[in-house]
Subunit: 266 residues, 4 copies
């Protein structure tokens, strides 16, 4: 099974980049399943709405994952419970969290569980991701032939620790949230594909997708600053392609990076 994954789609330019390159990537890589993180896909870079959900899906996406910005646009409550294609972080607390933290889909007569999990270091104190993923794996491991985790977290330590913790139990764990791709894609010792962060899809000449002038103003003044998504200029597409063997272990993980310095060669 081949999985194509793209990281945090940021703003209009992010949606445009995905709309443009996802069909090309699918044509060239021929993944059986495509997953995209959409936690920043509204025009203001926070949360998702029905319109961009449809845009990302119609570009060829099978499942959209989210992150700490999942709830920043209230429109999500209108449709998150109606779709099995939109997955929010598993470990938000409480029994009535809208949506689901995972979905199981059919891929080539195999069942693939797509899980969204969120870290806690320097983010919100939600439920323990180690406990919750343990419980979920116990629950679904008979049903699912392979488990893919989008681990939305800030620090390299929490990400690598989670990777090594889950190594051998799941097929792949890929990081999102920092919006910068790391160069540590690898198959861990027991067969799980891992990368700390795949990076984002959005404006290249920006700070994490936002206009750099605003971000710098905030750092320099420490006074409230309205952050705005960069809408102009050059774009970036970041992600990875993972190949699984029939037994669910990972054969390979390959980074995808399309930006002004890395034009797509196809």
């Amino acid at each position: 099974m081949r999985i194509l994954f793209l990281g945090d789609v940021v703003g209009n330019l992010g949606v445009e980049m995905v709309s443009k390159y996802l069909p090309i990537l699918k044509r060239d890589y021929k993944p059986q399943v495509t997953i995209v993180n959409g936690e920043n896909s509204t025009s203001f870079g926070r949360g998702i709405n029905k319109k961009v959900y449809k845009q990302i899906m119609s570009a060829g996406t099978d499942v959209i994952t989210l992150g700490n910005h999942a709830w920043n646009n209230e429109e999500i409550f209108d449709f998150i419970d109606d779709t099995k294609k939109l997955v929010r972080p598993l470990n938000y607390p409480g029994k009535d969290v809208p949506g689901s933290g995972y979905t199981i889909i059919n891929v080539n007569n195999k069942k693939l569980a797509v899980v969204n999990l969120q870290g806690r270091i320097f983010i919100d104190p939600i439920d323990d991701p180690f406990q919750k993923i343990d419980e979920l794996i116990s629950e679904i491991k008979k049903e699912a032939d392979a488990i893919f985790v989008d681990f939305h977290a800030e620090t390299t330590s929490e990400k690598k620790a989670m990777g090594m913790y889950l190594d051998g139990q799941i097929s792949a764990i890929v990081g999102t949230h920092t919006h910068v791709q790391t160069n540590d894609d690898q198959i861990l010792k027991n067969g799980t594909a891992f990368i700390s962060d795949v990076g984002m899809c959005g404006p290249f000449d920006s700070v994490l997708g936002m206009k750099y002038e605003n971000i710098i103003h905030r750092f320099i003044t420490q006074r409230p600053t309205r952050f705005e998504v960069e809408e102009k200029g050059r774009g970036i597409v970041s992600g990875c392609v993972i190949d699984l063997r029939d037994d669910g272990t990972a054969r390979s993980i390959e980074k995808i990076l399309i930006d002004p310095n890395h034009p797509y060669k196809g």
Copy 2:
């Protein structure tokens, strides 16, 4: 001018890897100046001491930079004031901070300023790195032909913001501290070389250089856990090579990564 930079050296295995590969890298890349971050180079992974300082220097290093762990081994106070080759973060507060935040060295009849700067997001609230680097640049820009900054910081946002803030004013800014190499090496619009993090030199099968069992135990229990440097197994060497033009702008930045998946080909 060609600069070779290696990221945070962690523990004995890190020092070994540098001792082994630095001569080879210098032979092959022929840098005129070599800079290594040594903030984790003691056997316990925190701070530096005279012995490892000498080991890293004798491997062919010209300047050693540090970071938030600079002060974790008190032995540093014995020699930091006696050497111009060891640079601690510029923006520690107070007027009597031991050592210096930068050094200016002669490279090919040019003067290169090597600066160590530290971020504040999710690290200690030291003096404002934006203010301090502004002041330093004003002070040294006549004297220095080129300025290289090792920006030791946690978040991708603070790093990219600092990069774009300094773009055009300095020759290069490379990140350290997360111990994971990022894949965003680039020449910014106004000619400054940038990468969010070059990654570490140390044990590969570890969490940031530490034994993963301890780190996982800490995440799972949230109880105090003694962290130990991983001393066994495979190693990793991470860094970059930067080429500067005569006018101090950057021509290129190239990542260096030597690990089990990327054996050195020379």
Copy 3:
């Protein structure tokens, strides 16, 4: 010299409580100067505007201090530079911060400096309050007969440390920001009046002035929740009265607390 100080005024109910009780407190305590923290005085509990500024002043206030919420209502930029009666935290970074971090006023032929200082532990990484207050004291100590500091900070450790650091150099340092009065009012060894926090003026049946249902919802769900100021129910007035000797040392500090359990007896 007798100083009356009231802590963070929160929302409409806070302004009402100050309007009602400040004249009574002034009649009974006969302070020569009255200072009120207004960082939460808008109807939504964040920042200040011209209307509430006038309401608080006309209740009998001489100087209004602020805190981390100073900039949350942009209306402040319309008048902060026009008045010497509104003081924002001294240690916001940069040279063009609107307003001033202190003011010097005449009280009984003495000059009293009123300073607003902000802590950094668990708040924003602004400039070092220890450095900045040192510099200010050096600058104004000849001019000012007495110095009063409203130290807006989160932790008891930073507050007590600052108190002991400044003990003997200033007349009084009183804490704000936690919205809960502490019971540690005291004259420190070298004559400085101190209390960790004076508490707030606002709605009593609330969490720090906000509707408790929203705050609890946020804690339980960790999802974004709109916080609203509690506008109904019973009120609280918190503050202190400080008596200074002619040499600027503090003779006494007395807490003021008016709430349903402590009706004002006059």
Copy 4:
């Protein structure tokens, strides 16, 4: 039922103060049960050991509670499982946490549950205290006639929110951890006794029990500083007395504060 509670005992001077004043307080207040927070009772101010455990117990304590420093002295593992008188925070994660998060004791033919709960804001990301106390109350409410909670937390918001959340479900919730007594002792609307923090038992001329010179050095330099418990000078005893009705609701809560400015009058 009358409960006497004393806050965080810090170091040798703290143990001395408890040994001296607890018998006097018991003689005068005649509580049926005495609870003391011992999380800082070793000579270095972190954790507890067998020796000080015995000292605090033999001063007349029935149950000792803890907090985030529970595990800082490994000696605790030698005896925490052998005693029902030592309670660690309920919400540490995992199934094999040493000790227990609560104990149920007989007081006057009534069963009193003594619970230790820990907050998460600006402390470690342990399990959700709101979830865990809900589960515990469901489990023990038939067995226990009254429930007393020592809520060890940093912020006033988390403390007041927890108080209002539990109001009417338990008899009393008292805060610890900030080491400074608050002046907001009250009976909440539905009959639960509440105070944000009772304060500490230890050295008065200190920052939270530690030598102020070290703490100030740390704030000013941001470099590692060895913190030492203040062993000399004047002491402080902080706590409260709570009276419960037969139905478990609280009739009254009264602060206890003995320090140089508030000598004990008996």
